[in-house]
């Protein structure tokens, strides 16, 4: 009796584990499938001209140079705005603020910021930066919008990095007579830099691929030149992919896959460098 119960229980377990494995494989292989399909169908489109020429014939020929540059400029500006603010906020949470209802509310705000739909950030950017601040549809309006969207990622990662610096480092610094800021600046921050960098790169890789927040704040449908200043409109890779996929008929499919591939390579190489950076510093860490 007991034997047959066990056999049944073990058989159930085998079936269940196989099902769990199947589910996991489905989820885990999805990214490989997506990347594989885009690589196979897109790599032929990649050429020097595709990467470095202006689009021609209503974006049906030529290159995607302005979109690549637009995205790079956008991402650079985003880091410029988001990094100082995010790191300062994390320093406040870990080094300055006592655990109180204030920090509780700050944390709740961060959680909520990370959950706000990207298109709502777009509306916010339109209302505040484009209209209220008078920047117009411009690189700076888009970058500020993306910076605010990236902020929660950077704050969370920086906080974690700062917390992982051993308490004794701070105590030694204080015992030598250093002030709070001197302690943070010289005894804590340098050791948190790798973690902060990793978080920042992950944050901007998300920003680089976002379309909805830049729809009404930066993105130009077609702009066959580079932006002149930060107050100029720009093309951007994700928006360009959207445009050539849904708005313009009769585009050779290879161009679409090629654009998707360039975007994917940009985002994935950012992610990869973040992962490698993390692994590198973890190995070097001496405490």
């Amino acid at each position: 009796m007991a034997g047959s119960y066990w056999r049944r229980a073990l058989r159930n377990q085998r079936v269940a584990f196989a099902a769990l494995f199947g589910a996991t494989l489905l989820v885990a292989s999805a990214s490989a499938v997506v990347i594989g399909v885009i690589w196979v169908r897109g790599w032929r489109a990649l050429s020097w001209e595709f990467l470095t020429a202006m689009p021609t014939q209503g974006m049906r020929a030529g290159g995607i140079f302005p979109a690549i540059i637009g995205t790079l400029e956008l991402v650079g500006l985003t880091v410029l705005f988001a990094l100082p603010m995010g790191v300062s906020a994390a320093i406040y949470l870990t080094e300055y603020a006592a655990d109180s209802w204030v920090t509780r509310v700050v944390r709740l705000a961060i959680v909520n910021l990370s959950g706000v739909p990207s298109v709502v950030y777009g509306l916010f950017g339109l209302g505040v930066f484009v209209i209220f601040c008078g920047f117009g549809t411009s690189l700076i309006a888009g970058a500020l919008t993306l910076a605010i969207m990236t902020l929660p990622v950077i704050i969370t990662a920086s906080e974690e990095a700062l917390r992982s610096v051993p308490q004794s480092f701070r105590e030694v610094s204080y015992s030598l007579g250093a002030s709070r800021w001197q302690t943070v600046r010289h005894a804590v921050l340098p050791f948190a830099v790798p973690g902060i960098m990793t978080g920042t790169i992950l944050g901007i890789s998300r920003a680089a691929g976002e379309t909805a927040p830049i729809l009404f704040t930066v993105a130009a449908f077609y702009l066959p030149r580079l932006p002149h200043s930060v107050f100029d409109q720009a093309m951007a890779l994700p928006y360009h992919l959207y445009v050539i996929t849904t708005q313009i008929p009769n585009i050779p499919p290879g161009r679409r896959y090629g654009t998707a591939l360039v975007l994917l390579l940009l985002v994935l190489s950012l992610n990869l460098s973040a992962v490698m950076l993390r692994a590198h510093f973890r190995r070097k860490r001496q405490w």
Binding site: N12, V27, V37, I91, N112, G122, L123, G127, T245
Partner: protein, 291 residues
């Protein structure tokens, strides 16, 4: 310290405190700006007609601003995505946390995390070019751009969130629970179903909430693959239009300050409130877990 140093120190501390509180300021600012631009709608359209109105004809004469079809569009796509992603996501988390070991575990985790990095516009593009024709053929439909296409695409986008948070919740269950169950003669599968899942329950609920939050807020992929028809959906096999897609698709064509423009901001308010509530509830679940 000299007085100059102390002054500098004070400035820096002030800046840091200001940045620390900035996230609260930003949340409040987002809400205020959405209100500022969107509230004017309710001078012309009563709240009831906005939320329960069955027609979204923003540019007809007279225009109709009823968002019920859009709300239901979002709800249908989200429910469909949840049906796919919750069981598969929780199953994957169980496998990764309890069964997989060594490099297999790392490879599976990396694969899942990698998916979260793929831009939504790329998934929307693949949804249009590969998934939609497939759906059209399989169900013999006039168009493959349907709520179902959106649900499947979004299910994959929700899974990384669901898997990673569920995994954290499972990892937080004390070892003793597992050992006690196994010592009583349970198989590992019985232990997982009857001990582990209930013990991690509130964390898993939080994971599901956050996954759903991601799906409701998703814009580009859903706009590209759901066919954009603002009609009340009766089946998953018809085109629908979600709240997010409506804003993204129509904002470019509006005149600033017009009723249409204002109505799109009013939709933004609705989305903001929904996401705020979802995150609040998820946060409560997560904290109950820790307490």
């Amino acid at each position: 310290m000299t007085r100059g140093q102390r002054f500098r120190e004070g400035c820096i501390e002030g800046l840091i405190r200001f940045s620390g509180l900035s996230s609260i300021v930003i949340v409040v600012l987002i809400f205020l700006f959405l209100l500022r631009e969107g509230i004017a709608l309710f001078h012309t359209v009563p709240l009831g007609d906005f939320v329960m109105g069955q027609r979204w004809y923003p540019i007809s004469e007279p225009p109709r601003f009823g968002i019920l079809p859009l709300l239901l569009g979002s709800a249908v796509v989200t429910a469909g995505a949840a049906v796919f992603s919750v069981p598969i996501g929780v199953a994957s988390a169980l496998f990764i946390s309890e069964i997989a070991k060594g490099w297999v575990k790392e490879a599976l985790k990396t694969g899942i995390e990698l998916f979260a990095a793929i831009p939504s516009v790329v998934l929307g593009f693949l949804g249009i070019t590969l998934l939609a024709p497939l759906i059209r053929q399989v169900f013999n439909l006039p168009t493959g751009l349907t709520a179902l296409t959106g649900s499947i695409t979004l299910a994959f986008m929700a899974m990384p969130t669901i898997v990673s948070i569920t995994e954290d919740a499972l990892a937080a269950v004390p070892r003793g629970y597992r050992e006690a169950a196994l010592a009583l003669g349970a198989t590992r599968w019985q232990m997982m179903v009857r001990v582990l899942l209930p013990a991690a329950g509130s964390g898993i609920l939080a994971a599901v909430m956050l996954g759903i939050g991601r799906v409701i807020g998703e814009t580009m992929a859903v706009m590209m693959v759901t066919g954009n028809a603002p009609v009340i959906p009766h089946t998953l096999l018809r085109p629908v239009r979600t709240l997010t897609a409506t804003i993204a698709a129509e904002m470019g064509e509006t005149v600033r300050g017009s009723d249409h423009y204002v109505a799109l901001f009013a939709i933004g308010i609705v989305l903001f409130v929904i996401s705020f509530m979802i995150n609040l509830i998820a946060d409560l679940f997560l904290h109950r877990e820790r307490a």
